[in-house]
Amino acid sequence: MISYLTKRLASLFASLLVASIVIFTVIEVIPGDPAAYMLGMNARADTIAALRSELGLDGGVLERYLAWVGGMLVGDFGTSYTYRTPVADMIADRLWISLPLALYALCLTIVIAIPTGVFAASRRGQAGDYGIVGATQIGVAIPNFWFAMILILIFAIQLRWFSAGGFPGWEKGFWLSVKALTLPAIALALPQAAILTRVMRSSLIEVLGEDFMRTARAKGLTSWQTILHHGLRNALIPVLTIIGLQFAFLLAGGIIIEQVFALPGLGRLVFQSISQRDLIVVESVVMLLVFAVIMTNFLVDLAYAVVDPRLRVAR
């Protein structure tokens, strides 16, 4: 177990280091000067130069890279070029929307997908199974932003049950905020649930064909007992992998949904910062998302070890 953990940790740090170099380099070579962008078409050259030095854009590349990485290690993400507030504060504010939204959507995904997938697998080849497979086919094909617009059309414009977008802020009330996140979470969750249902179903079907399942039935368990006690656990590894990927996707991939619902989350922050050439924000948020993805994968790796004892043995 220890050696498994050490290996995983080592690869985690290596990935982070490589990611930081790649992100910094890519963003350095994007054309466009933040100072010129901020000052617009009538700016004079001396004004742009004054702003560049105010923003600390004069230093060398290596110097700025080291300052950035060094700062992040102690939790200092620098100061946004445009907003002139600490990037760490901005990210923390936005995370309070993106993280609950991702978790909300992930919960919906799991709650929908696991029972549906298990049900479909247990009814393999029957009408219920075909119905579910057909529905997931549609779910996978529908882009989430389009689905989001349909939800807005029905529930915000026609029925007026929800507002069409925006976020009141957690201090205005927990339920009010949950309500504001509901349509976005559903829009994010349904396509993901369709994917997860299919994975759950096929993974369980594969396990159902294994010899030990027949043995379990032979020793007198009912069909449902075998599925829940022997089948599900063995079928979960691919499902966990997908859930891990989906969480990362939901956290990072809310960009479009956040635009459609005008939610001030991380995705919107990245989108705005890229077009405003607020490079330090882009770098830091992207780094944070990479960190989240790598951490999720790490946790998924650990979860494998819990689910599958064979992995705990060093190989």
Partner: protein, 490 residues
Amino acid sequence: MKRFLTVVSALALSLPVSAWANDTLTIGIQLEPPHLDPTSAAAGAIDDVTYANIFEGLTRFTEDGSVIPSLAESWDISKDGLTYTFKLHDGVKFHDGTTMDAEDVKFSLDRARGEDSTNAQKGLFAGIAEVNVLDPRTVEVKLSETDGNFLFNMAWGDAAIVAPESIENIKIKPVGTGAFKFDKWVQGDRVELVRNEDYWGQPADLRSATFKFISDPTAAFSAMMAGDLDAFSAFPAPENLIQFEADDRFKVVIGSTEGETILSTNNKLPPFDNVKVRKALAHAINRQEIIDGAQFGYGTPIGAHLAPHHAAYVDLTGNSQYDPELAKSLLKEAGVEEGVTVSLKLPPPSYARRGGEIIAAQLRAVGINAEISNLEWAQWLEQVFRGKDYNLTIVSHTEPMDIGIYANPDYYFQYDNADFQALIKELRGTTDPEKRNDLLKQAQTIISEDYVNGYLFQLPRLSVAKKEVEGLWANAPTQAVDLTGVRWAQ
């Protein structure tokens, strides 16, 4: 189950009953300001939120574009036109309670023109030689040369009067003298303002106002339709306006802006370094088709670089009537071979992206192959505006009265005409309105006949509001969403 129903009905009851209070307003704008200091960035969204609402200058624009006194109640101009003596209003206080006096004016102007100034319109202050405080309510501004535009320049948002006491945090906590005080900024979502109860002038009708930032046109449409917003200033999708017009709850407010939308042309790079080729270009373009296709019919055709609502405007669209046959023969005369490839670099706004496709098709019909590339603003500024690495681009020049840019041979058009430069110099030194209009007319005629750029249309300002909202500006003489006169109909 019963419990569940209770929760559901409680949730249903807590729904916002579309903000129907009579003294607050929630207004949408497309872009979020990067910060709230109008004196150190170009972003128009800063002025949308702050102009006249939070910050005021010595003079100000009215809805029709004229310049009237604001913090300065009156002024004297010396005979030689070089000294302006401003008399300031009495009893004006900043939102933090400090008094606005001549020292603040001197501070603001000196800061804007200073060496390490980051004012995006530093050029507005370039003519100022010195600023002197005569007494707390009188300030004297000396110019190095006469400037007929000086009072006009002082009306820009970039010339707002700020205080040394509050300058440090002005970007996140703006302190001005306006009829609204800054209350709160939820970044990424909204800015909230409250009425300034100690305002020196006519107080605002609204008790509070919220600017909401919705960049996605579909989301903006939904938010209006769902009743989340009371109004949307400069609605981003002209194709949706017909739906608002058909809906009893809303009205569509159509006004004009200072944005001349032009097919900017690089006058130094072949083939458009030849005036004949530029003339051909002008005749190859069908303006109405562009206005219909890219703007859904909203927009006034223009033939030069001045807003049609201006007194000095001359209609010069006749110089560039749509005539593809003439365009073809002019190209032949100039020796441009058929199928010549030019670059057409488009910034993000939809007028540019949609208009670009239409123009490319029109140019193809006369044998010019325009290669489209879509750029982000930052790229556009670097490649096109500063690098001048382009043949054609489409952009709306939204600064008011900016025909003077044609006198700068280093500007990205790279238009170099000594006669025109002399004319603009004369214009700067002229204060008589009649004489100025006359010079402006000459200036329009010169650039129109030199076919410096393709002149397309004046950008309209299209806003949507609930029927009961009154007093919103229809026009945009400068980038502003002035809420000081907005109220709900009884």
